[in-house]
Symmetry: C3
Subunit: 349 residues, 3 copies
């Protein structure tokens, strides 16, 4: 990683990742770049054939294109099934994640009962509790806290300042960003004479393989049973996941979404940012929710659902917002008009 | 806590918590469980008499029921006034909070002027500032930072990675979850020639007894006077509380709610998740706000208030959302129709 | 700072900050206070001439007023162009930020390659990575983590528990509150056979001079190019800023706002709390967005925009919310009524 990034020829790239070179396979690139700012030592990609005219102006040394754009340019190119996914993999060649340096920093505070793979890295000032297990090739960042009895799989990566409470489990290749809190108590309250009583939160958080969790996201432990994030789920930043939630495999959720307790979300769903999902809602597989949508009841059919009501210049918005408060009455007035019109028609005939 | 949880007979339970046993008081249970998955060594509860038919299928060893369901099952049972609250207390018997281990971890950095009760526990790598006071039986988790001159009461619990700024105070039995930030500067800005000037934030945060604060919630210090969270308030995760806010005793606020500066919320309120309360709004006691509601003006009468506009399949939503932009005009058109109809009527008579 | 705050006469204040004293310039004040609770040793301010009657009841020793209120009271006063901004500066005299104590706490873990100004302060248990540069007069709080190759300017202040990833840069006089995460990976995903592939996030976060960032706010690094926060931007708490966003100079954003990837916001904008801005939206300079508004498309004209739909008592809200689901149909029914009315008119003439 020192100094310059490594370089790859198009021939080397397709050898590793598949696809077909058109043009000189010895064309060498040193970095990935967006179409607009690509330089002759960069490889870029064309996400959508409709933008192929932009290739004319690009100074890119090479480009990744889909099948239908194989003749859209004279630039040396790699033809593949999915240019965006292929580009992600090429970028991974040029930008591999930092390697794990096995061993524990002397400043880390590690309980003697913890079982840490000799192939794992524990960063400075991390705190590892009793009976914690950490698998081979995993990296625990600086200032992380891992609670008693928690298990972390292999090749996981916890960035700096992650907090995991006791008794949680996490699969292989999980990535957790800074500020994340996993396993805090859910919001479980009973009332008694006008005061709140805390309901002990005794479930765990169980996280599958290949999950990624964005910065400052929080996932509460279950009340009685577990909160479960299935494999391949991708969570963006500042998401809140309440107790007893289950999120199905390969679902992706954008930032700032709040998911209340006991919600079940299916597999392969996509939830837009700043959405809210009310308690106990059940969402089936393959559902897309637009951003800024409040999901107040269950969804049992795949498809796209929306509930965001847009914005206007302030003066126009005021007129509409005021009327929204009288919408029930407006509907009644329209009904009355329809009735009178119908009566008149009848009285004429 | 080692190995198996302890066990209690129903007789022992009512001796500690009150209520009446029906069936064999020697019936012994070892854990709490939900109705559906309870096993013969579990005690469960029936929250609502309407679900009493579910008791027929339950394998629970014992059940907590309300007065009206005392004959709803043959399972050994405890009859009490409020089954949910009672269950919370029974769960507390089986799952007591981890005991405090008095003393300071050698890796903690504690200013010599701090006054820490010999009965308090300071976790690894915690940082305790000048003149901090920490009361008996309190536990400060790993990697917490407590700023200068802050006072924490007795039997408080700060989980790992909590940050409290200087000069704040916190009552007894307060629970603060990881990632919480208390006492950061409020968003106080003045403008001068198109640039922002910072208004020093010199108030404190004052937190009463028995408050619980969820993961990654933030409570800003007051601008000139204090931000106050009264006793018994329960805050879920990722809530933002601006400067000079006052939250009345025994109010509960669900996750992701944003409360702007100088808001006053009464006692015994319940605020749903992902709500927003605009600056300087005053809300009286005993107000319930539904989730995902924007509270843009003050509320002076108890009751429930809502403002969430739901979602639809995308195509139907589009039709409605477009019309919302013309709602003011639609109302005018209805008025015009009504006027013409009235004219016609008048011209006939 | 020990014990009592220092005191200033009005004469000393105008000597430092400009303005004109009316009344005895030897009048001495010891603190700033709000109008209502000011005591004879306090100086307060009158933000708005309309409230000048309140001055009659104030016990304040002195007051800051605008030109038009110069005769509104007999209290000794400072007349200036902008009382709020002036008050902020006076408060700064009485409440200067804690001074930086140059040097590194022995418990901090600092890589040997880091270049830290001898005039900078590194707090306890901070972790400073490889090749980090920290400028003169900057303070890094307790438990902060600064990633490899990151550069922090002069007189910056990172409160406790801030996390900055590798390779970011930050200007002079930047203030970052606790729990902030800068430079985490953006939410960059490609799909391949129903699974998500991570797109490496190789841009940086670049933060200008005089930026302030509130507690638990997150700013993602760019995917290919940089995420940029220009000078003088003020961000409140719990804001999420996605990858490749650019925020123009002197824009202020209130708490809980989510800004999706590749958004461009102009200079001198004001964004209300709990707003959401959809991906790739472009907002021009001098735009104000009301709180709780979803900005779903670009804005190319300055002005104020709103999209919050208020709340109602629950029963009334239900009636309106139900009708919103049929708004498209309601509009069609009104069109039908209009058409029939027009036909009748035509058939008569």
């Amino acid at each position: 990683m020192a100094g310059e990034p490594s370089s790859f020829s198009l021939g080397e790239i397709v050898e590793r990742l598949g696809g077909e070179v058109i043009g000189d396979p010895r064309t060498t690139v040193r970095r990935v770049a967006p179409l607009e700012s690509a330089t002759p030592d960069s490889i870029t990609f064309l996400a959508d054939e409709r933008y192929s005219s932009r290739l004319g102006k690009s100074r890119a040394g090479a480009v990744i294109v889909g099948e239908s754009a194989r003749r859209a340019t004279g630039i040396p190119r790699v033809v593949c099934a999915d240019p965006h996914a292929y580009f992600a993999r090429v970028s991974g060649l040029f930008n591999p994640p930092r390697e794990v340096c096995p061993g524990s920093h002397p400043s880390a505070v590690i309980d003697a009962s913890a079982v840490i793979s000799p192939g794992a890295e524990i960063g400075p000032l991390a705190v590892i509790g009793r009976n914690v297990q950490i698998g081979e090739g995993s990296r625990i960042g600086a200032n992380c806290c891992v609670g008693d009895d928690t298990r972390i799989g292999r090749h996981a990566r916890l960035e700096a300042n992650v907090t995991i409470y006791h008794g949680c489990t996490m699969g292989d290749r999980v990535i957790v960003h800074s500020g994340v809190v996993i396993g805090a108590d859910g919001f479980g309250l009973a009332t008694e004479s006008g005061r709140w009583i805390k309901v002990p939160q005794i479930g765990r958080v169980v996280i599958g393989n290949d999950v990624e969790i964005g910065a400052n996201t929080t996932i509460d432990r279950g009340a009685l049973e577990d909160t479960v994030i299935e494999e391949g789920v991708k969570l963006d930043n500042q998401i809140q996941i309440g107790h007893n939630v289950r999120i199905g495999a390969h679902t992706a959720i954008a930032a700032c979404t709040g998911i209340a307790g006991s919600v079940k979300i299916g597999r392969h769903c996509r939830i837009g940012g700043a959405s809210g999902i009310a308690g106990h809602v059940v969402i089936t597989d393959h559902v897309d929710i637009s951003g800024y949508t409040a999901v107040t009841k269950s969804i049992d059919r795949p498809g796209r659902y929306s509930g965001v009501y847009g914005f206007e210049p302030h003066a126009r918005w005021r007129k509409n917002a005021v009327q929204l408060r009288h919408l029930g009455e407006l509907a009644e007035r329209v009904r009355a008009l329809e009735k009178k019109q119908a009566q008149k028609k009848r009285s004429k005939s």
